[in-house]
């Protein structure tokens, strides 16, 4: 069984995000980019499945700009077997929307005759939480989202999901699209000997037209702005003072 793991190159989780002056989006010029943290978890899980001999091959796929090569190299250095890069843009600022990504992934999963797609539950840049679900519909496969535990059986996958108020266990039939949550595993680091080997691993470059997918955007971003900054707090000396402030300044009691 082959597993496809889509990995997105996003603004590093620890970088302080700056919004572009014209409100058209987030400024990504000279900003540290890394693999979407949820995708890292998906890569780790796929590698563990291969180590447990539940799957035979882990294929990492990235859709975006040429520099996504680096992200794929990271996946290869963690232990993915090969990689496919679909160059869909020349500008890092252009986000490829979920439906387009799902369509491309559908073609790749079909071409590779994969049986499982493991992806992050969402990308931390736009928080769409949509690609996995759309992909499952396009492929006509089962889906299990927000996985915090995963067991692959002969014909099914048993998935523990984090839901409001507790954990839910479901069984889905394979093939399936499974989206992973934070607590599924602790991803391993990229090993340097693997990075040396990864340079010899296969990284195929494609373009959307290879898959007959049209990139025309359906969504348009109207405006992006920073959240309101919180006002600095004040220290009060006593409960009485607090009460006065709540009553007179905040007007909440």
């Amino acid at each position: 069984m082959k597993v496809i793991v889509p990995v997105k190159r996003v603004i590093d989780y620890n970088v302080k995000v700056r919004v572009k002056a014209d409100g058209s989006g987030v400024d990504l010029t000279n900003v540290k980019m890394s693999m979407n943290p949820f995708d890292e978890i998906a890569v780790e899980e796929a590698i563990r499945l291969r180590e447990a001999e539940k799957v035979t091959e882990v294929i990492a796929v990235s859709i975006g700009v040429k520099q996504n090569q680096e992200t794929l190299r990271t996946a290869l250095a963690m232990g993915a077997d090969r990689a496919i890069l679909v160059i869909a843009s020349e500008d890092v600022h252009q986000d490829i929307e979920p439906l387009t990504v799902a369509k491309l992934l559908k073609e790749i999963a079909t071409e590779e005759a994969a049986n499982l797609v493991l992806c992050g539950k969402q990308a931390i840049d736009n928080d769409m939480n949509a690609t996995g679900q759309m992909l499952s519909a396009l492929l006509g496969w089962s889906q299990a989202t927000f996985a915090s535990e995963l067991n692959i059986e002969a014909k099914n996958a048993v998935v523990t999901r984090e839901v409001d108020g507790g954990l839910q266990s479901i069984k889905v039939s394979l093939p399936s699209v499974i989206t992973v949550d934070l607590r599924l595993n602790q991803p391993r680091y990229a090993s340097l000997p693997n990075i040396m080997k990864a340079k010899r691993k296969q990284l195929d470059e494609k373009v959307p037209s290879d898959y007959g997918v049209d990139l025309t955007a359906r969504l348009s971003i109207i405006n992006t702005r920073e959240p309101e900054t919180r006002k600095a707090g004040v220290k009060v000396a006593s409960v009485d003072e607090l009460l006065v402030k709540l009553k007179e300044e905040a007007g909440v009691i």
Binding site: D12, Y189, M196
Partner: protein, 471 residues
């Protein structure tokens, strides 16, 4: 003769100082990070400007009152606490916490002594600069304390000690005069270097009240890696390869032994260990490149090269800022793991870099002749500086092996001394290492130090008992 600070003196101080200078003394001012030594109570004073510091010192000088300068209280050699003697004034710089000026185009910041190191780093960072002094205590230590101890830390390989990061200081002398050396000059050969006399003097020559600090351009991209090496000799060869290949882009080069990793597993703090096994020896490298070059690529190429030369066996490299922070968390948690485990003896030693492997093997050999120990040897090997900590065996406690402490220290210091090394590389002398200083120092050096102390502080009120013993 030093006298205790009495109610009468306190009343005199109250006459010329604002109420806010007087604060209630809490135990935190009398403790030190390792929890082994305690200070006697003193009169806590927290002035918020240089003139008030000068007023305090003048009165203390007139009345022969001892002064213990206090920064963040993270010093490791007992300089900030006085365990016995006449009741002192504890002069804390915590309220002198203003950044007076920043000249971005000159890469200079003038900060008062009480600014917390982390705040200086953050302020520099917000202007796309760095202040490169970096140590595990940076969240509490204050810049005045860093200067007073000439602290080292993990970036010395690239940027030097605190001394190298300072263009000049302002200090209150033991008679209450103010020395203004707050310079923005990068060149100034006009006589003796007085700034550097105060830097590293651990509060024995005066009180540092402000400093002119050097900022540096922030590397455009940074990455860290753990390289597994066979032994310390391979680590040193790797270091020299780094120097050849990376030049000044190498920001840190830290040695970590498997014992440190075992301690982290046994007693925490909880960290993500980089490998599924515990390598005997590994090195944590940090690289920061400017325009054009990618730190990750630099580290990858370095690894390949070192691999071909059989210097490294395995390695991991950070792929995100989070991972880089997690790598450093491992290194920075080792002192805490040591503390929880409880060392018989901990030393902060330096030898010429090339002699580190020989030092490590000799020390192990000599210690094995007097008993069985667990040894956690780690630290800033890129500066020839190792923290050599000796622990009891599992099941034993520190106190079971108290009798070994003196022997262990003597063995280590003798080896270091034979190698023309230092028994205190970056932590200073304080009150804990004064014996060693008189034992291992060149007599001429000691005599010169005594003359300087006598000339600046003839009454001996500044931090009595630190560096030079009270005679």
């Amino acid at each position: 003769m030093i006298k205790p600070v009495s109610n009468i003196i306190e009343a005199k101080l109250r006459e010329c100082l604002p109420e806010s200078v007087f604060r209630e003394l809490t135990n935190s001012y009398l403790e030190e990070p390792r929890g082994r030594h305690f200070g006697i109570e003193g009169l806590l004073l927290t002035p918020d400007n240089t003139n008030d510091v000068a007023r305090i010192v003048r009165i203390c000088s007139e009345h022969n009152i001892g002064i213990v300068p206090y920064g963040g209280g993270t010093g490791l050699v007992g300089g900030q606490i006085m365990p016995d003697g006449p009741k002192p004034v504890i002069l804390s710089l915590e309220r002198m916490n203003m950044v007076r000026d920043v000249w971005l185009s000159e890469n200079i910041m003038i900060a008062e002594a009480g600014v917390i190191l982390k705040d200086i780093q953050d302020l520099a960072d917000s202007s796309e600069r760095i202040f490169p002094l970096s140590l595990a205590s940076e969240g509490s230590a204050r810049i005045g304390g860093n200067l007073a101890t000439n602290a080292g830390g993990v970036n010395v390989v690239r940027y030097g000690n605190t001394r190298d990061l300072c263009l000049g200081i302002e200090a209150v002398l033991p008679d209450g005069r103010i020395f203004n050396g707050l310079s923005r000059l990068r060149k100034d050969n006009t006589g003796y270097d007085l700034n550097n006399l105060f830097i590293g003097s651990e509060g024995t020559l005066g009180i540092i009240t402000a400093a002119s600090l050097k900022l540096f351009p922030k590397p455009k991209n940074e990455a860290s890696a753990f390289f597994v090496v066979k032994d310390p000799r391979a680590a040193i060869e790797l270091f020299s390869l780094c120097r050849d290949r990376l030049g000044t882009d190498l920001s840190a080069f830290e040695l970590i032994s498997c014992v440190g990793l075992q301690f982290l597993k046994e007693v925490g703090p909880d960290v993500i260990l980089p490998f599924s096994y515990e390598p005997q020896w590994m090195v944590l490298l940090d690289v920061g490149c400017h325009q054009g070059t990618l730190s990750q690529e630099v580290l990858e190429v370095l690894f390949e090269d070192a691999y071909d030369r059989d210097l490294v066996m395995d390695g991991v490299i950070s792929q995100s800022i989070q991972q880089r922070d997690d790598f450093w968390k491992v290194r920075e948690s080792i002192p805490e793991a040591n503390h929880r485990t409880g060392a018989i003896s901990s030393s902060d030693l330096s030898v010429p870099i090339g002699m580190i492997p020989e030092f490590i093997s000799r020390a192990e050999q000599r210690l094995s002749e007097i008993g069985e120990f667990r040894i956690n040897c780690f630290g800033h090997v890129g500066d020839g500086n190792i923290h050599y900590n000796v622990f009891p065996l599992p099941g034993e406690s520190r106190s079971d092996r108290d009798h070994d402490r003196k022997k262990v220290k003597k063995i280590l210091y003798d080896i270091v001394s034979n190698m023309d090394g230092s028994f205190s590389a970056e932590h200073g002398i304080g009150r804990l290492k004064t014996n060693e200083l008189s034992l291992y120092s060149d007599p001429t050096k000691l005599a010169l130090m005594k003359s300087i102390k006598g000339a600046l502080d003839p009454k001996g009120i500044m931090n009595p008992g630190v560096i030079l013993k009270i005679e």
